[in-house]
C-alpha cells in the first residue's frame, strides 16, 4: 500500500499516469455532456412554471456543483500537502483553484441570466445560493492572489494551503449565515429544496451533465497538474529529456 503511494507521489510516475487518464476522462465526460445538452435542450419537457427557461438548470447546477467540489479538492489537497509535505498535493491544490474560480463564475453568470426572466432583475440578493457563490468566488480570488503574491514556490504552497483550510472551515458557516440572512425576508429562489419531484425525462439529462462535467473537470485538473509538476521539477533530468523530445516532435 505504502509503496503504491510513494510511487504515485513520484513526479515522473504521476506524470505518465495522468497522461494515460486524461483521454479516458475526456472519452467518458464528452459523450455524457453531449447527451445531457441535447436531451436537456430538446427532449426534456418544458417546466410547468418556468417554461423553457428551466433548461438553464442543465448548465447552472453542474457548474455550481463543481465550484464546490473544486474547493473541496483544493482544501483536501492543501491539507495533505501541509501535513505530509507532499509537493504533488500542493500542485493539485494550485491547479484546482483557477478551475474552481471558472466554474464559480459560470454558476454566477448562468444564475444571473436565469434570474433575469424569472425575477425581472439581473441580480437578486435574496437568493442565498447565488450570494454564497459570490463569496466563494472571492475566496478563490483571495487564494489565487495570495499564491501570486509570494515569489518563493514552497512558501506560496504552504501559505496558500493554510488559507485554503481556513476557508474550508468557513465555507459551511458562510453558507449557513447567508441562508439565515435571506430567510428573514423570504427571498425568491431559482431551485427550491424539497420541491415537486423532478420527472425522469428532466432528471436523466441533469445527472448526465453533472457526471459529464465532473469527468471533464478531472481531465482539466490533470492537464493542469501535469504542467505544474513539470514546472516544479524543471531542473530534473526527466523533465529536460521530455522537453527535448517534445521540441523534436513539434
Amino acid at each position: 500500500m505504502w509503496t503504491f503511494f510513494h510511487k504515485l507521489a513520484s513526479p515522473p510516475h504521476f506524470y505518465g499516469l495522468a497522461g494515460k487518464f486524461i483521454p479516458w476522462f475526456a472519452a467518458i465526460g464528452l459523450p455524457l455532456v453531449a447527451y445531457g445538452t441535447w436531451a436537456g435542450l430538446f427532449i426534456a419537457p418544458p417546466d410547468y412554471q418556468q417554461g423553457d427557461a428551466f433548461r438553464i438548470i442543465y448548465v447552472h447546477v453542474p457548474a455550481a456543483y463543481l465550484s464546490m467540489l473544486a474547493y473541496m479538492v483544493m482544501a483536501i489537497a492543501a491539507g495533505i500537502g501541509l501535513i505530509w509535505r507532499m509537493k504533488l498535493a500542493h500542485a493539485v491544490a494550485a491547479s484546482a483553484a483557477p478551475l474552481g474560480a471558472w466554474f464559480t463564475f459560470l454558476a454566477l453568470a448562468t444564475g444571473s441570466i436565469w434570474g433575469r426572466p424569472m425575477w425581472g432583475t439581473w441580480w437578486e440578493w435574496g437568493d442565498p445560493r447565488l450570494t454564497s457563490e459570490l463569496i466563494l468566488l472571492f475566496l478563490y480570488l483571495g487564494y489565487m492572489a495570495l499564491r501570486a503574491a509570494i515569489d518563493d514556490g514552497t512558501k506560496a504552497d504552504r501559505a496558500s494551503a493554510v488559507l485554503a483550510l481556513v476557508g474550508a472551515v468557513n465555507v459551511p458557516i458562510i453558507h449557513f449565515s447567508v441562508e439565515w440572512w435571506s430567510s428573514l425576508h423570504q427571498g425568491p429562489t431559482l431551485i427550491r429544496e424539497g420541491g415537486p419531484a423532478i420527472a425522469g425525462d428532466m432528471l436523466y439529462p441533469l445527472l448526465a451533465m453533472i457526471f459529464g462535467f465532473s469527468f471533464l473537470f478531472g481531465a482539466l485538473l490533470l492537464m493542469r497538474v501535469k504542467s505544474e509538476v513539470l514546472y516544479r521539477e524543471r531542473r530534473a533530468r526527466w523533465v529536460r529529456r521530455l522537453a527535448t523530445e517534445s521540441a523534436g516532435a513539434a
Binding site: 501541509l82 463569496i135 472571492f138 475566496l139 480570488l141 483571495g142 492572489a145 495570495l146 503574491a149 509570494i150 514552497t154 512558501k155 504552504r158 501559505a159 493554510v162 488559507l163 483550510l165 481556513v166 476557508g167 472551515v169 468557513n170 458557516i173 458562510i174 449557513f176 449565515s177 447567508v178 439565515w180 440572512w181 428573514l184
Partner: protein, 232 residues
C-alpha cells in the same frame, strides 16, 4: 521531559508579558490606538453626508453602516499587527521562544483587540445614537460588536500572519479577510436591525458568541502556522 527547568517561566507569564509589552508600546504611541477609532467615526459620518439626512433612511441603514465601519476599522489596524515586530526582528525572537507559539499569538491578538476592537464597542452606541436608533438597537450594537470584533481580530490575525512579509500585503489582506468575515457582518448587522425593530437579539448574539469561541480555539493555531511559514 518530566520536570521543567526552574528558569523556564510558566505559560501564563509568557502570555501576560507579551500582552503587557504590546499594550505598553501602544500606550507610548497613542496615535496608533486612536487612528482606527477616528477612522470608524469618519466612515460612519460619510453615509449621512452621501445619502442625505432623512431620519427614516438613517434609522434603516444605521446598523449596517456601523458594522461595515467597524469591519473596515478592524481591517485597517490588522495590517500593523505583526508588521512592526517583523521589521525590528522581534517576531523571529517570538518564533524561537520556548513558549508555545499559538499562546503568544493569542496574546498579541488579545492586545490588538483591546486596543482596536474594544474602543469601537464602547463608542458604538454613540454612533448609533447619531443614526437615531431606538434603545434596543443601541444595546444590541455593543452586544454584537463585542464578540464580533473579537472574532475579527482572531480571524484577521491569520490573514495578517499570511501577508506579513509581502510588499503588497496591505491590499491583499482585505481580499483574504473580508470574505471570511462575511458571516460576522451578516449576523452582527442583521441582529442589530432586528433588535431595533423590536425583535429579540438572543439568536444573533449566541451565533456570534459561538463563532468567537470557534475562532478562539482554531485561529491561534492557524495564525501560528502561518507566521512560521511566512518567516521560513
Amino acid at each position: 521531559m518530566t520536570t521543567l527547568p526552574d528558569t523556564m517561566p510558566g505559560l501564563g507569564r509568557g502570555f501576560v508579558a507579551l500582552l503587557r509589552r504590546d499594550l505598553l508600546l501602544a500606550w507610548r504611541r497613542p496615535g496608533d490606538v486612536l487612528n482606527p477609532l477616528v477612522f470608524f467615526a469618519i466612515v460612519a459620518t460619510l453615509f449621512p453626508l452621501a445619502l442625505g439626512p432623512e431620519t427614516d433612511l438613517l434609522r434603516t441603514i444605521g446598523p449596517g453602516v456601523v458594522w461595515v465601519a467597524a469591519l473596515l476599522a478592524a481591517l485597517l489596524s490588522l495590517n500593523g499587527l505583526f508588521l512592526a515586530d517583523h521589521e525590528d526582528g522581534s517576531l523571529e525572537q517570538l518564533l524561537l521562544s520556548a513558549q508555545p507559539l499559538p499562546l503568544l499569538v493569542l496574546a498579541k491578538t488579545c492586545a490588538h483587540w483591546l486596543l482596536s476592537g474594544l474602543p469601537l464597542v464602547v463608542i458604538s452606541p454613540l454612533i448609533g445614537l447619531s443614526y437615531d436608533l431606538p434603545a434596543d438597537g443601541l444595546l444590541a450594537l455593543p452586544a454584537t460588536l463585542l464578540p464580533g470584533t473579537a472574532s475579527l481580530s482572531l480571524v484577521g490575525a491569520t490573514g495578517a500572519a499570511l501577508t506579513v512579509g509581502l510588499s503588497r500585503g496591505n491590499a491583499l489582506l482585505g481580499l483574504l479577510v473580508l470574505p471570511l468575515a462575511m458571516p460576522i457582518l451578516i449576523f452582527g448587522a442583521r441582529t442589530v436591525s432586528l433588535a431595533a425593530a423590536g425583535d429579540t437579539m438572543a439568536g444573533g448574539v449566541y451565533f456570534l458568541g459561538a463563532y468567537c469561541m470557534l475562532a478562539l480555539t482554531l485561529a491561534p493555531f492557524a495564525t501560528a502556522a502561518a507566521l512560521r511559514i511566512s518567516n521560513e
